[in-house]
């Protein structure tokens, strides 16, 4: 079963490589950059930042606030990431009626406001729940 799965995987992978060869010949640098850019940026930049941020937050924040703020940062980060293609449009075609014509910066701000309102509500609720136990 595992060998069959692995063998099928190798065949599919090979098919993709063969199909990609003309692109490799055509624009090797651009393609290579986009293929390696994800893992490299993730491993040397994004993941260390997350680790460092988590370590600092765990030391600085009171316990009830850690999870809400951590979750809020993760959700915010994903939303900002998804907004990048709309906010940085140096390589995009013209905006046409009805397409890519939303107020993206304002929309992102609204979404982040909703997220951080939820963070504050969750943080306050958790603080209130933990306080009596600590006092008693």
């Amino acid at each position: 079963m595992r060998w069959v799965l692995g063998a099928v995987g190798v065949v599919l992978l090979g098919r993709g490589v063969v199909e990609l060869l003309p692109v490799v010949a055509d624009s090797p640098l651009s393609l290579g950059g986009w293929l390696l850019g994800g893992p490299v940026l993730h491993d040397v930049l994004l993941a260390p930042l997350v680790g460092l941020g988590g370590t600092v937050l765990a030391r600085v924040l009171p316990a009830p606030w850690r999870a809400p703020v951590g979750a809020g940062l993760v959700v915010s980060g994903v939303l900002v990431l998804l907004a990048v293609p709309y906010l940085w449009r140096a390589f995009s075609g013209p905006v046409t009626p009805g397409l890519h014509d939303r107020p993206y910066p304002a929309g992102l701000l609204v979404a982040l406001t909703v997220v951080w309102t939820a963070v504050v509500v969750a943080g306050l609720a958790r603080s209130r729940n933990t306080r009596p136990r600590r006092d008693g």
Binding site: L5, G16, W34
Partner: protein, 365 residues
């Protein structure tokens, strides 16, 4: 204090480890599976091999498959990041390479991660029609999809015992040593995935249009993907004729023929879709008038001078469908030039890029 690079054991958070990564991996596998299957469908419709057919009903079928394609891809963004965080300590495992199989495994994981990021990033940029690269997007996105799928199967084959053990072992919660507990990390991943989907899916789900602040389309009517000015098309005058086989029709003759009105979505390969009410002449009536066989595969040509989308192929399944129209009107008004005046093709369950505008000619292939 002397700096040293972290080791695998320095990552003490319960967000790392097989129990988290197997669960998130399962969700990510579902997202990738849906994305791959619907992507192949869309590719098949646009570049059909001889054995491939695609039904013209239900009319919204392509809208659904392509909506699933883009939405599952968006959902995979937070899932991939969470998956990688759950296994990040492995990157610092030493020795770097233990054996030949171990080296192959690490290599295959680099291929898998590179291909996965490539697919998600280029896909998300393509939805915004933003192209910060030098290659042709459809070719590269399609080829790397096969690489990602293959590398994923290899990865699952290698890890199957670990996955099975992690998913079947009784789950007991460990306290958070950092910001999030294991449960908290899984819930956060779910919340981020939900937020990503909610922020974008309104491009195709009408009642979420306002909520989806990062959707590709707005609420301003039926979107125009390609302006007449960008296509180099100017408004046709009274000398314009539609040529079907050897027969010519003037615009007035088309208007005088029996008209069909149908509600059909226009569904873009980039995942957005829009409902509209179209009025025009069924293509099969035009074929009958021109004495051409019903259900023929047709070549639909545009007034557009050049470019990859100046003509399209309309398969027999669609040319025989009574709802496949050469539309003259949209939502009760004559087509504007940007929507394809004097007439455009609109067929059920077909990618928007193949709904050729400014049609000048239909011929049997």
């Amino acid at each position: 204090m002397r700096f040293r690079p972290p080791g695998e054991a320095d990552f003490t958070s319960p967000a790392h480890g097989a129990r988290v990564s197997a669960r998130i991996g399962l969700w990510l596998g579902v997202a990738f599976g849906l994305c791959f299957a619907t992507g192949l469908i869309s590719h098949g419709i646009q570049h059909p091999p001889a054995w491939f057919t695609w039904p013209s009903r239900p009319v919204g079928l392509y809208r659904i498959t392509q909506g699933v394609h883009v939405t599952s891809g968006v959902a995979a963004v937070p899932l991939l990041l969470a998956k990688l965080w759950s296994v990040y300590p492995k990157l610092f495992g030493r020795p770097l390479v233990r054996s030949v199989p171990h080296a192959l495994e690490r290599g295959s994981i680099l291929v898998l991660i590179g291909a996965s990021f490539f697919e998600l990033l280029t896909g998300v940029f393509n939805v915004a029609q933003n192209y910060p690269w030098a290659f042709f997007f459809p070719t590269a996105h399609h080829a790397v999809a096969w690489i990602a799928a293959g590398a994923l199967l290899v990865h699952v084959a290698v890890k199957l015992p670990v996955i099975r053990a992690a998913l079947t072992r009784a789950d007991h919660e460990e306290p958070a040593t950092g910001v999030l507990s294991r449960r908290g990390f899984l819930l956060t991943t779910g919340a981020a995935t939900g937020a990503a989907v909610l922020a974008t899916v309104g491009g195709t789900v009408p009642w979420l249009r306002t909520a989806s602040v990062l959707a590709s389309r707005s609420a301003t009517g039926v979107p125009v993907n390609r302006l007449a000015s960008a296509a180099g098309v100017v408004a046709a005058d009274s000398s314009w004729r539609l040529r079907v086989g050897d027969v010519e029709f003037s615009l007035d003759e088309l208007r005088a023929m029996p008209q069909t009105t149908a509600d059909l979505p226009i569904a873009c390969v980039e995942g957005w879709s829009a409902d509209a009410t179209w009025t025009g002449v069924p293509v099969r009536d035009l074929l009958a008038r021109a004495g051409l066989p019903a259900g023929s595969d047709l070549r639909v040509e545009s007034l557009e001078g050049g470019g990859p989308y100046r003509s399209s192929t309309l398969p027999g399944t669609h040319s025989a469908d009574p709802l496949t129209l050469l539309a003259l009107r949209m939502n009760g008004e004559e087509l504007t030039l940007d929507h394809g005046f004097p007439c455009r093709l609109i067929a059920p369950s077909r990618p928007g890029v193949l709904q050729t505008k400014w049609v000048s000619r239909l011929e049997v292939r």
